[in-house]
């Protein structure tokens, strides 16, 4: 078990299995097919993301450096939240980018499904965390990572 401390972007608590993207997460490419075909598991459709392609994203603690790609990214995350297929939380090793921040904040203000978001967790966080490790996040930005 290991604890990390980051900055709270959108407050909240969550406990969920980790899903880790070592490279930038392309929000539109990742959610496009699942939103289009109403896939409740939100299976990642980004062929360029070797870590996440074809993996289920809904309800996972999504660990990533930053998001990349289209500036529709924020509204895609908002749609995923409103349609209840978003990850349980977003955990960024770097400072959050403007598109992901928009998505997390839109989800918080405009939907019932909160998307707790913590950034600046550091490179060590992404090096340590692996898929399916259990992640618990606390209100103050503490992230507890437990081995499977």
């Amino acid at each position: 078990m290991k604890e990390f401390k980051g900055r709270v972007v959108v407050p909240g608590t969550a406990k969920a299995p980790a899903l880790v993207s070592r490279d930038g997460f392309n929000t539109l490419a990742s959610f496009q097919k699942s939103l289009m075909f109403n896939d409740k598991n939100a299976t990642c459709s980004d062929q360029n993301n070797r870590d996440l392609y074809k993996k289920k994203m809904a309800g996972k603690a999504l660990c990533l450096p930053q998001t990349i790609g289209s500036t529709t990214g924020g509204l895609v995350l908002y749609c995923a939240s409103a349609m209840k297929v978003a990850p349980a939380c977003l955990l960024f090793s770097k400072q959050i980018d403007s598109l992901a921040a928009a998505g997390a904040i839109l989800s918080d203000v405009w939907t019932d499904s909160k998307l707790p978001t913590i950034d600046s967790l550091g490179e060590e966080f992404l090096e340590y965390v692996k898929d399916d490790m259990i992640i618990e996040i606390l209100e103050d930005g503490v992230v507890i990572v437990s081995d499977m």
């Binding site: 972007v9 959108v10 539109l28 490419a29 496009q32 097919k33 939103l35 289009m36 062929q47 360029n48 990349i68 790609g69 289209s70 500036t71 529709t72 990214g73 924020g74 509204l75 908002y78 749609c79 409103a82 349609m83 959050i96 980018d97 403007s98 598109l99 921040a101 928009a102 998505g103 904040i105 839109l106 918080d108 203000v109 405009w110 939907t111």
Partner: protein
């Protein structure tokens, strides 16, 4: 109430508290939270005449967005500025598609009419206001130097910041609309003098003028969301910001923004702030990236080919992502005509679509080249090629393009301008 960090005026606090209506309160809360996340000190008024929205498509999957738009309309809220929007996703008349593809398009974009009606209610400038190159003269949404904007389209943001000297952050869709409704945006990042300083120096040491789309791609992939200061490009490009140069920068910038996340670049002796401030724009100890012919070749060779059969004959060619300018339309026509003559052909051998805004297309039609282009079998459309390629059936087609943005977001394969000309006029290239 949200415990805000930035300095707000008494009126802004009232809005945040919901005293000007619940929906406007939620819009203010969204914008203030967004600004607080990036350390914004305050909200500043938008000063551009028009806004621009990135979301132009009525994708059936975006139901929550339409619900949100209805909330805004029902609350009687209008954008404080009229706005243009990114290109429409459909053009059955001018872009080849079979029965099955058209059926899928109709299902995918089943909300298009409803969404456009919502845009009109909130503040769409005109029925022709659908393009990613809203800043071109023919369209007329051209910000002035120093204007504060609330835009999101990445290629337009980087152009407005870099070539026009306006100030805009790389916002997400919806956030930019909220800014236009409030008439204010948070003051951080590329709005500030400090945020516009370059932390990269790019040294261009090529033997000739680089392909704009590859140079932009190389810079974007290297600097990601940082600000580059580009040296050595004016030896090939000249130091006058004329229409030809602006077109080059339009295409280069779009590639920096899509292959990376660049929102602003400076070019020594060329772009407005670099002309005014020179190397004062560069931070101490910037990172250095040298680009020579070998490096550009390496970058081009690194692009993955997403076609199922890499030897397939292209079924479609898109030229114009971002949308072409009038001068580019004329130039492409001349070059295609010359090449067809050289290869003893009369019509293009691969179905080809050139895309531009409705306003540019209308102007182009006044020139003799418009007839030439149609006679050569080239289609002209106002469509967004990206939206076309989002159709899973179209995504499986071997599509060629000279756009690095289209290559990045879809399965389209990148070719240089001269490779495109040869492929569509001579045939047989892949």
């Amino acid at each position: 109430m949200y415990n805000y960090k930035m300095a707000l005026t008494p009126e802004e606090v009232e809005i945040l508290e919901g005293r000007h209506g619940e929906v406007l309160g939620k819009i203010m809360k969204t914008i203030v939270m967004y600004g607080d996340t990036f350390g914004a000190s305050k909200l500043v008024p938008i000063s551009s005449e028009y806004g621009h929205l990135v979301t132009s498509f009525g994708l059936s999957i975006m139901k929550p967005v339409y619900k949100l738009m209805d909330e805004i309309i029902d609350a009687g809220l209008l954008s404080k500025q009229k706005f243009t929007v990114d290109p429409r996703p459909l053009d059955f008349e001018n872009v080849p598609s079979n029965f099955l593809q058209r059926t899928v398009f109709k299902i995918m974009y089943g909300k298009q009419e409803d969404y456009e009606a919502q845009l009109k209610k909130i503040g769409l400038l005109s029925d022709n206001g659908f393009t990613c190159t809203c800043y071109l003269d023919e369209v007329g949404n051209t910000p002035k130097m120093g204007d504060i904007l609330s835009w999101a389209e990445s290629s337009a943001v980087v152009y407005a910041n870099s070539v026009l000297g306006a100030r805009c952050n790389r916002n997400s869709g919806i956030i930019e609309m909220f800014g236009s409704i409030l008439g204010k945006v948070p003051y951080f990042g590329l709005l500030t003098d400090e945020g516009r300083k370059a932390n990269w120096v790019i040294e261009v040491r090529t033997s000739h003028l680089p392909e704009a789309q590859i140079l932009g791609s190389a810079i974007g992939m290297k600097v990601m969301d940082d600000v580059p200061y580009i040296k050595g490009l004016t030896q090939h490009l000249g130091n006058e910001l004329n229409k030809h140069v602006k077109d080059y920068l339009k295409d280069m910038g779009a590639a920096t923004a899509s292959n990376g996340a660049v929102g602003l670049y400076h070019i020594e002796d060329l772009t407005p702030e670099a002309k005014e401030l020179g190397t004062k724009l560069i931070v101490d100890n910037p990172k250095i990236y040298v680009i020579d012919d070998k490096e550009l070749n390496r970058v081009k060779e690194s692009y993955p080919i997403m076609w199922k059969d890499i030897n397939a004959k292209p079924k479609l060619c898109f030229i114009g992502c971002p949308h072409l300018s009038l001068e580019q339309m004329i130039q492409w026509t001349k070059e295609i005509k010359e090449a067809l003559k050289a290869y003893n052909n009369h019509k293009v051998l691969i179905p080809t679509v050139m895309t531009a805004s409705v306003s540019v297309i209308e102007e182009f039609k006044k020139y003799p080249e418009a007839k030439d282009l149609l006679n050569m079998g080239v289609n002209i459309s106002y469509i967004c090629p990206l939206m076309y390629m989002n159709n899973p059936l179209c995504g499986k087609m071997p599509v060629m393009t000279n756009s690095n943005k289209l290559r990045t977001y879809t399965t389209a394969r990148y070719y240089t301008d001269s490779e495109i000309i040869e492929a569509i006029t001579k045939g047989g290239s892949n």
